[in-house]
Symmetry: C2
Subunit: 387 residues, 2 copies
């Protein structure tokens, strides 16, 4: 059996349906307003779903894969599990999304893909486009890090540095004029690509297969696509009678912005905030998306704002357990620790590899050691060793 | 059923056996000479092996895991598969080894581990030691890259920069005086840790489960531990009647050194060479180890020397298929391409993530684009797009 996807459905008004093709990359054309854009969602013929969730409950996937997903669930302490998404082809969770979005590009016969990103999303899109034989344009912020540029160019992407205010219009124009399929949001209120969260559903399927249904899932949250995708996966498992409930979805945003916290507090579909200073650049955003609101509300979850010191503490805790994450990737555990003891089991999603942290040249170089006396001093000073 | 490991056996003379504990980290005490050190190997009670290879044919593993292994086999072209070892906990194949070597440290009740490495091996040892609650000392070369130091320190390792000529004596002294277990070689002719290649055997088991027995396996080769471990895994499958043959093991060394090529040509157990300039620092070595000779000879394989331009071409080819590797990690495919068309299926092992490549600050920054005319020029110049 192939994909059971049968259409797209507006999240602004679920009574409004659309055909599956073409994917509505600008969000719902019926319910979106000048102020708020609403996403559309892929709908399936659930009545026909059998024992196998893959590929039945994914969109059609004509783009070849790279062995994404099937990441391990590592037990950090009794009842606390880490879903380590750094084990994906480009070492972040974004690969699950891009397998689906690049498949949409292949499905519509696009000449290539275009993506706006200064990090994980762009590199992942570039890799899946390369694998599918499609060119990829990545629109970064005005001053991308050299490591990110090298990462993007390795996959052959055409990289353009664009001031943020010009991002959306330029992206739409490139898409139109060069016939490229956008695989990131083209709207200010985040709608993203309708196929994107479908890739993230597999995280729910995998957690359920490994652990059953946890009490809660703590998710690093920027626009809420990952949060929504995991919630949708568990919701499907409940609908199919495989799970009795959906875990509480806990969105963990950087306190420097936290638009979803604001949207939920104010009861609005999406909120705008000022962005303060943070090193969690991968998930900081001045605007949220409606998917985040839906995921938290439908699961009796909540949104938490975590500070950079809390992120650093969580990153260090994970690394001291052998799991080194990008700073933003530790937001799930940071949220759990901020909340204090909760009933388990819980899963913290760790989204990305610590190798993506910027290298600080200012960090002290290790001492050069040429004799035992020097070594002994260092060993003693570390506090770990008795000589 | 637990581990079926029953002892250690000299590779210098397989008639000579030793108990399983303690692991003989300085190689075989009976056959090694002042000129050549011989490794020891873990032996199993193969008669009792049943359907499950894990954990029967691994050493006892008291150190907790991090979800290492089970990496995907990605088809690059018909008959050519890439085993992507960048999907491991610290994003290289070394995690398979260190699960076993750190388990040895736990098994002997060591106060910690010590490792000499300027890269993947050290970071992996640091992660597994951290996971096991043991301190870790990493002895790097005299000028480790800042990115590597950050990687090691993330896991809490104590990092010492040591001139290469002082490495072995200092490492042995640290091990003795602080009660640390060495998880990398303590001998000049490479013997390594007896448990190390056991971890690599699982690559053979996984390839066999996914693909059957390929015609050949192309392996980035430094000291030959990975090469030997994969060969041993297939040899065990043949011994157990699951496979009819062992694939040809093709060692792929950087042409800047290539001691295994020399050892095989001269018919000696290990060779010393001058080391020329290369960017494949992860696998360049002035001396080989006897395991490499055994793996190539016993499988009717061969050793190839690949140049830096060949490595770069293979790295680019993999990245354009969505798999970005460390330069040294592309040596397997570089070897296959150097050899010309071969009968398939073949597997090229890709050992490590492209995120570990040093970032060149000299690389050109992307153009800053503020209007469509600039974007159009860049798109046209790329040769990919018609506007």
């Amino acid at each position: 059996m192939g994909s059971l996807a049968i259409g797209q459905r507006s999240l602004g008004d679920p009574r409004i349906g659309f055909p599956l093709w073409p994917p509505l990359t600008d969000g719902c054309p019926r319910t979106s307003t000048a102020d708020v854009a609403y996403p559309v969602d892929v709908d399936y013929d659930y009545e026909r779903a059998g024992a196998e969730l893959y590929p039945a409950l994914l969109p059609p996937l004509p783009a070849p894969g790279l062995g994404e997903g099937r990441t391990p669930l590592v037990e950090l302490e009794p009842g606390v599990f880490v879903k380590d998404e750094s084990r994906n082809p480009t070492w972040s969770h974004k690969d699950r999304l891009n397998r689906c979005t690049v498949s949409a590009a292949v499905g519509v016969g696009a000449a290539g893909v275009v993506v706006a990103s200064s990090g994980n999303h762009g590199a992942s899109a570039a890799a899946y486009a390369a694998r599918a034989g499609l060119p990829c344009v990545v629109i970064t912020g005005p001053e991308p890090q050299p490591g990110v540029v090298a990462f993007l160019r390795a996959y052959g992407a055409v990289v353009m540095a664009v001031p943020w205010e010009g991002r959306w219009p330029l992206m739409r124009r490139i898409a139109e004029r060069a016939g490229l399929h956008p695989v990131s949001s083209t709207t200010v209120t985040h709608t993203g690509h309708p196929f994107g969260p479908e890739g993230y559903k597999t995280i729910a399927y995998e957690i359920h297969a490994d652990l059953g249904t946890p009490e809660a899932v703590f998710v690093p949250t920027g626009y809420g696509e990952l949060l929504y995708g995991i919630a949708k996966g568990f919701t499907e498992l409940r609908r199919l009678g495989r799970a009795r409930r959906v875990p509480r979805m806990i969105a963990c945003e950087p306190a420097a912005a936290a638009p979803l916290v604001k949207a939920l507090r104010e009861g609005v579909p999406a909120a705008h905030v000022e962005v303060g200073a943070t090193d969690a650049g991968s998930i900081v955003s001045p605007v949220s998306g409606y998917r985040g609101v839906l995921a938290v509300r439908s699961s009796d979850g909540r949104a938490l704002a975590v500070t950079d010191p809390q992120l650093r503490a969580a990153q260090a805790e994970l690394a001291r357990a052998g799991l080194w994450t990008e700073l933003a990737g530790a937001a799930g555990l940071a949220g759990l620790r901020a909340l204090g003891p909760v009933e388990g089991p819980v899963v913290c999603v760790a989204t990305s590899s610590g190798l993506k942290n910027p290298v600080r040249d200012s960090a002290p170089a290790p001492a050069v050691v040429t004799d035992w006396a020097q070594a002994a001093r260092i060993l003693t000073a570390s506090g770990h060793f008795q000589l």
